[in-house]
Structures are given as structure tokens and as C-alpha cells.
Amino acid sequence: MRKQKFLTKALAMVLASAMILSLAACGGKDGKDGENKPGVTTEAEQYGGKEFVYAASFMDVDYTGYLDNGHIKDNYYYFLGGDYNEATQIYTQTLYKMDLTAGKIAPEEAGLKTSAGINDTEAWFANNFAVLSDGSVVVQQRKSSMNGDELENWLVHIDADGNEISKKNITEDVKIEGVDYSYISAMIATKDDEIVLNDGQNKVWKFDKEGNLLATADIKGIQWIQSTGIVSDGTIVLTGWGEEGGQQACKVNFDTKSTEKWLDFTGDAEGLDIEEVLVGKNDQTYVRTADALFELNTETGATTEVLKWLDSDIASWDIRQVFCAEEDEFGVIMGDGYEDDAQYEVGILRKTAVADMPVKEIITLGTFSYSGGGSDSQKAIVNFNRKSDKYRVEVIPYMVEEGEDAWQKAVEAFNNDILAGTGPDVLDASNLNTERLTSKGLLVDLNEYLDKDPDVSRDDYFKSVLETNTSKEGTLYCIPNSFTVLTLAGWKEDVGDKQGWTVDEAKAVFEKNKGKDYMYMTDRRSALSMLLFTNYDQFINWKEGTCNFNNDDFTNLLEIANMFPKETPNNDDYDPAGGIIDHTTLIYEAYMSSMNEYLLTKAIFGDDASKFTLIGFPGNEGNGARISTNGGYAINAAAKNKDACWEFVKSFISPDAYKASNTWQIPSLRSAFDAQLEKLMVPETYVDENGEEQQVASLGYGMGNHTFEIFPPTQEDVDAFMDLIDNARGSINYDQFIYGIIEEEAGAFFDGGKSAQDAAAVIQSRIQTYLDEND
């Protein structure tokens, strides 16, 4: 009896302890010495706990300009450079080589020089080349007539001094049935100095160095060849997209005149896109992907990760070529763009124990993209890591699988980590439901940092961009790097000359223009999406948690969308401008991610600003234009060192970041946009055969049968575009649940099952429930 009572009491104690223990907020990371110090990291936590990394040292290349199609031979990097002389209007190509072992890396001419001027009757253009064992070079050149009609392929063999040894027309040898001209996409030289070419899709050819055709092989089972390489046993390998899907690697068999499946890559590189195959100093084989370098077992196809580019402070988007320098040493040629003013550097990566690397505080960055982000994101990470002595950003990619539900799994994993308090310190905001996270206090309000930091100021950034990234509670959760302006445009005679229109006015215009194609390739559902995406917040009072879809404006929007066709025909020929030009299409959806796209819109409307109106999306406020932002970084409220996180976030939107960036997208930083405009507004001219000065188009856009030349903007263009941006509304944070409900119920109306009012009533009921939940 006594024992029973004791056991009962013991059980009660255990249960009570469970309750009390669960109430206690214990936990936290221990530092190296066991103390719980926020922000301090340990050696073991560097580089994801690896034992070795490849530490890089960088050397600038004393060259600016176009650099492409490189090959490594011995310790030299050979590449084709290009330069256009505006005064003489002659484009010159030069083959360069640079000694990678030199203290200062500067290219020297390697013998080949071609030039083509506007007045030449024929032009020679070097597409590809290969370096032979004796240092001579075989170049694949394209010869074209002035009007571009006659195109020929030639193989030209030159010695190290640039003297031509032989030249052969191989146009007939590389001809493919049904194709007018075979574009050669890749060229390599074998150990026996044979030249192997492929067109990236159909065929592989083998020539000797004099240009005599030796063998051909058809490319089968694989398409969109990404890389051509030779492994240590001489096998020529192509990687690309398999016809049944997924990455494939094929070997070329000239005996059977066909490619054959080579290996199924397994292990660390399984399923990844292979960008390059290279051979090490001791005949190892390596494969390069967007994220990493892997060693390949050429018998089994097993791959093992050797290094990650970000660990070595290399932005993979910038890599032009990778080579094996020595045992446990790799070299990387990098360029920060493809323009005439691109800068280059060479990185030498040496295997180093993590214990010998400087210990920095880790800032984790969570991203949904496979390779840590786009070009600007990678550059931001790499530049920050190189410059900072105290901090280091390490990427945690959440999208680690492929397939239909990969995205959903990534979101679930991310949410679970955030709630468990183990989420990354900095978050890639491009795919987050930031409204939900800010409403739960899970993201840091950047307003405080923006107001206190002496290096940046609120006024430096476009107000509408900051508005777009501010939650309904007033939390500024991210400042994106760039943004896009969305609006609708129409001929003044159709839509009037005032920017902005109400829903009633829009409905009247659409009714008046029945019979016209309202918008290119836009059916009812797309029209509703377009109208609502930028507008549904006017039907929702987020602060009070109420909605009002039971009104005329909303039913009018449904009715406007219902005026569009139920379905649009498939059209392979993309030509949204055609209908505008011949006045059979009413509205053009202008998606302006740069100044040039504003100029394109103007060009579509006859290049005359007085003839068209940027009418905007129907609504009740402003000029109807909307700002859409993508990307940017948010800071996790659970981050241990928020100040360090801000330093990284700031580096992404600082003036230096924009200087290093090659994007032409509209920067969120006003001064960066001003600098962009300054460059854009510089006119380029040339003197024609009549001695008259003609302006050179900066850019050309092709749409269907139309080509639009874009010239540098005038001050009026700039003022009009700035006015559009300054008066645009910040775009609402797209809520997929709300939009899903509207789309579902509107579908019943579009199918003729319900009236617009009935559909609106159901939408009102369901969305009000949704809003009540989130109250």
C-alpha cells in the first residue's frame, strides 16, 4: 500500500517535471570552451565542418575587353579578345595568351588577328580555336559576305608567330542536311593534334590540322551540348540534356559514327548540369558544375565533391575556365561580365586545412535557388567574404532536390527551421511569404538600421521600392537590389491622355472597343491575374482585417476580365507589338525592368511620346503603374548577430555593389540609377558613306516580324520614366491564398455558371474567413 502511494507520487512528480521543464527556455549553442556566447563560432563550424578547403589567392588580369572561348595549354591561357573601334568602325579580333605563372598576368598577342569593317565586302570572324602540342593554333573561322548571305567555315592553321601554315574551306565537310549554315559551337584538340568540332546538336567532326576531314559521328540521345572535353584516356566526351530528360554524358565513337552513352554520374554530382570536363596533372578527371568541382571515377561514374566555389570566394557565374595547376591546386579564370569594360582575374586555389584558415563569425544565408543565387547575389556573398576580416557568409540552399514538389519541400523545411529557431540568419526574400513572417515578428525591421547607419540613408532609395517591401504593420523587411515597373499602355485615341483610370473608366473603354484584341495572348484568367495582381489590396483593409469584394468595382473587374477570350490560340511567333502597330490590339502590357524597356515601349508606339499613354492598371489611385521587386535579403529575428547580418545586407545594396554589378535592371539606389542613365545617354555616332553623321542604336529588340532599334534616351525620356517610377505605387505582397480563392470562384463565373455578383459574394465569404483567421 505504502509502495503504491510512493509510486503514485513519483509518477505525479515526473509529469509535473515534464511540464516545468517544457516551460523553461533552456538551450543554446555552446562555444568552443563550453560557454554560451552568442555570435562566436568555432573552427568546427567553419565551411560546414569540412577538414580541408581550397583557399584562393587572386591576381588581376591586366586586360579589359571581350574575352571568350579560352583554352589552357601548359601554363598559358589562350583566348580570343575582341575590340570595336568606333572611329574607324572596324571590329578586330586578336588571339591572346597569358602566362598564368607570372607575377603579373597580362595577355600578349599570340599570332592571330582578324578585322572586319563596315565597308568590307567580306568579313572573317574567328569562332573557335584549339592549341596544338607545338604551340601552333588551328582556328575555325567564319567567312561571310557583306550582306551575310554567303557563309563559309574555314580551318586555318597558324604558327606561334601568327604565320599562316594552311587554310582549308570545310563548309561542305560540315554541312548538315536541311541546315543552311552549320554553326560550330565547340572545338578541341586531341593529344594527337587532331581537331574535333561539334555544332552542339547534330554532329561531331574530326579533322587533321590541315583541315582534312578524318571522321564524323552523329550526336544521338543527347541535345543542347553544354561541354566538350577529352578525358585522360583520350575519350572525347560531350555533356548535355538527354532526350529522355536529365543530364547525360556521351562519348564519341568515330568507328560507329555515333555518340554512345558514356557514364551515369552518381554520387555528389548526380543530376547536376556539367559545364566542363577537365583532366588533372596526374590524369584524374574532374567535372565542373555551377556550384562545385567534382572528381570523377571514369569507370564507375561516381563523383566526389572536391570543392565548392563559394567556399573559395568564387562566384561561379564569373567562371570562364577552370584548369588543374598542380596536385591539389586549381586555377580559375574569371570575368565580371561580357561587356567591353569587363574586368578579369585569375584565382589559384590551394588545398588548405580548415584549421589553418582564419576563424570568422559565420552568418548563414538561406536561399531557395540551387546555386546560392543569381549573379548579383553570388557577387555580394563573394565580395563580402573577401573583404570582411570578422564575418563570413555561408549559404544554406533549401532547394536540394528536383521535381514537382521540390519547391514545396524546400518551403516546409525552411518554415520548420525558422520555427525551431535554427533558421538561417539572413534569408533570401525572393520566395518568402514575408507578410506572414513579419506578422509573427520573425523578420527584423530594417527601418531602424536604415535610420541609424551613417553609410546609407532612406532618401538614397526609391520610396516606392521601400513601400513595396514594407508589411502592413510597417516593418521594412528587405531592401531589394533592383526593381521593375509594370504598367499598361495604349494609343491616346483609345485610352485618353491621362495616366491612371478607374475601373468604371476601364470598363467603358473595353466596351467601346469590343471586337478588338484587348491584349496580346491574354485570356480571361490571365486578364484577371493581371488586373488583380496589382489591385486586390484596394478591396482589403489589412489593418482592420476586413474585405469588401461585394462592390461594383470588383464585379466590374470580373466583367472586364470576362470580356477577354476564353482561350487564346498557341502562337509560336511572339509578336505583342504587331497588333499595337496596326491598331488591332488595344492595350500593351509594359514590363520595364530597365530604361531601355521604357524606350522599347515608346518605339512600339511609333517612337512618339505624344501618341500614347501609360494608362496603368485600373484602380483608384495614382498613375496606375506598379513596382514589382524581386530578391533582396531579410534578417531573421532569431539571428544572433543582427548587426553583422545588416553589414552583409547593406553590402548588397551599397554603391560599391552597383558599381561591381553588370545588370541593367533598375537599381533601388537612386545614385546608381543616375550613373546608369548617364552612361545610357551618351550617344554613339558614325559617319556614313555620304559623310553624314548617323546615330548608332544602342540596342535592338526583335518581336515577331518587327525589329526595334533603341537609341540613347533623351532628357525628356528620362524625365518621363522617372516620373513614372516616382508616382508608381508599391506593389502589394501577393498572397497566394487570396488569389487562389478569387481565381477559383471567378472560374465559375467565366464558365457561365454564376453571375459576377454571386461569384463576388462567395469570394467575400471565403476571404473574410481567411482574414479573420489571421487577425
Binding site: 515534464a18 517544457s22 520555427l419
Partner: protein, 299 residues
């Protein structure tokens, strides 16, 4: 057979040893129940009393107050109560009637029994498909109505949706309840019924005063099971109308499911505790009623 302890009043060495060893055998089960039932229960209570899982600030009953004030929760409670108030009594009464009828040994009674039981075996997703075909705006039921001269009804997206769900619930659950009642009817003491017949009691009197009294525990069981099933009807409603149906079929489990999806574990936990308390009260009341009416039967 009485144990040694019951005979002598003392526990023998053997019984003491067997009790000790039985505790060890029970430990894994106890640990499992503790880990997967008891501990999560306390975790739910913990979550309901903190502001968020990151800050862990104790806010006592603030979350409960917030949930009680929440319009969606109030709507869900109201709808769930209405649904249960309609469907549970109907499920009990109709299944009892069916059991009584089928107990009469009518022709083809076993085929009828099979027909009523078969909905239990059909997977929920298949049932939902059938219901969508029947009650869709362009479905079979509306076709019949239109042919009879009426107007189409938006069954699933109007105030008529509650009827669709009630019919679905009854169709799914009548069979099981009917079997329970048929078993209970088969176990009634025939001698008492014969005596009552001899005493000139009519069938209604026999049914109410003898059969129902003897079936009180079964009625209690069926009522509780029907009540629990009425909460589980969320599955069918979710498949028919997804996360945010029209107002009158927005149930408590919709609210909790959506709170889970929104990562609002505080509201979810508080709502779950409210629901648990309500269930405890209801079941307690039911037990009390059964105790009152079934007391003499047990004696």
C-alpha cells in the same frame, strides 16, 4: 478465483515479485504513451501559453483570449456545434430505427445490411468524388432539379452546403452505428421481454422501458462515437472545399488546420485546448445521463 492476498489479506513473496517484474514489462508501453501522448499534451499547453516559439515569453492566458475573440474561431465553433447538434442525434436515431427494422428478419435483410455497411469500406477520396459529381453546380442533383422546373442550387458554396455535409456524414456513419445497435438488440434479455408481453405491455412500452434502458450504454457509446466522427468530418469537407470553404461549413478543424499552415501554433494550441475542454464537458454530461438512466439496468 480469489488470490492469496484476498484469502489471507497478505501479499506473498511470489505476488510481490510478480508485481515488480510486471512493472518492468509495462515500462516500455508506459514510456511510449508518455512520449507520444502525455508529453505532447503538455507541449501543447506550453505553446498555448507563450507568445511565439522563438521568444518563449510567457503570456499566460493571452492566447486563449485572442482565440476567443477571433472571428474565424467563433464562426468555426458555431458551425461545428450546429453541425454536431444536427448530425449526431440524426445519426443515433436513424441508425437505431434501421437496426430495429432490420432486426425484424425482413426478406433480404442481410443484403440491406451489407448495403448500409458498404459506405464504411469506401475510401474518403472516392466518396468525395461521388459527392462532387452529384452536388456540383452542373452535377446530377441540379440536373434533376432543373428538369423538375426548379433553379440550380450552388450546393457546396451557399448556405445549403450544411445539408450536403450532413447527408454525407449520415451516409458514411449510419452503417457502423446500425451494427452496434443490432448487436445490442441481439443481447437483450428475452425473458424480461416475454414477461412484459405477458403483463400486456405494448410494443412501444417494451421498446421504451425495456429495450432502450438496456441499450443505454450502447446508445452512449454510439453517441460519443458519432460526436467524435462529427469532428472528423473535416476530412470530407476539406477534400470537397479545401482550406477556406464558405462560412457555414467552416469548422473547428479548418481553423486548426489553417493555423498549422500559418505557423500560428499559439492559436492552434489554444483552440485545441478549448476543444478538449468542450469534449470533456460533453462526454461528462453524457456519462452522467447514462448513469442516471442505465443505473438500474446495471444493478
Amino acid at each position: 478465483m480469489r488470490t492469496t492476498k484476498q484469502l489471507t489479506g497478505k501479499a506473498t513473496k511470489f505476488t510481490k515479485k510478480s508485481k515488480r517484474s510486471s512493472r518492468w514489462f509495462l515500462t516500455p508501453s508506459f514510456l511510449g504513451v508518455f512520449l507520444f501522448f502525455v508529453l505532447p499534451f503538455f507541449v501543447v499547453i506550453y505553446y498555448s501559453m507563450v507568445n511565439n516559439p522563438i521568444a518563449h515569453e510567457f503570456v499566460f492566458l493571452d492566447n486563449f483570449a485572442r482565440v476567443a475573440r477571433n472571428g474565424a474561431f467563433q464562426r468555426a465553433v458555431r458551425n461545428t456545434a450546429v453541425f454536431s447538434a444536427i448530425s449526431v442525434p440524426l445519426a443515433v436515431v436513424l441508425s437505431l430505427l434501421l437496426a430495429v427494422v432490420l432486426n425484424q428478419r425482413l426478406p433480404f435483410h442481410s443484403q440491406f445490411r451489407t448495403a448500409f455497411l458498404s459506405p464504411m469500406m469506401v475510401p474518403v477520396a472516392s466518396i468525395v468524388l461521388i459527392w462532387q459529381v452529384l452536388f456540383h453546380y452542373n452535377g446530377a442533383v441540379n440536373d434533376i432539379i432543373v428538369n423538375m422546373g426548379g433553379d440550380k442550387i450552388d450546393w457546396l458554396k451557399s448556405d445549403k452546403a450544411i445539408f450536403v455535409i450532413v447527408i454525407l456524414f449520415l451516409w458514411k456513419n449510419l452503417g457502423y452505428n446500425m451494427i452496434m445497435f443490432m448487436a445490442a438488440l441481439g443481447n437483450l434479455p428475452t425473458d424480461l421481454i416475454e414477461v412484459a408481453e405477458l403483463e400486456s405491455a405494448n410494443r412501444w412500452q417494451i421498446f421504451v422501458h425495456i429495450k432502450l434502458r438496456y441499450m443505454s450504454s450502447t446508445i452512449l457509446f454510439v453517441t460519443i462515437m458519432s460526436l467524435i466522427s462529427s469532428f472528423k468530418v473535416f476530412r470530407e469537407v476539406y477534400l470537397l472545399t479545401e482550406d477556406h470553404p464558405v462560412e457555414n461549413i467552416y469548422l473547428l478543424q479548418h481553423f486548426m488546420n489553417n493555423m498549422f499552415g500559418n505557423l500560428d501554433y499559439q492559436k492552434l494550441s489554444s483552440a485545441a485546448i478549448y476543444m478538449s475542454l468542450a469534449m470533456i464537458v460533453i462526454i461528462g454530461v453524457l456519462f452522467a445521463i447514462e448513469n442516471h438512466f442505465g443505473k438500474d439496468v446495471e444493478e
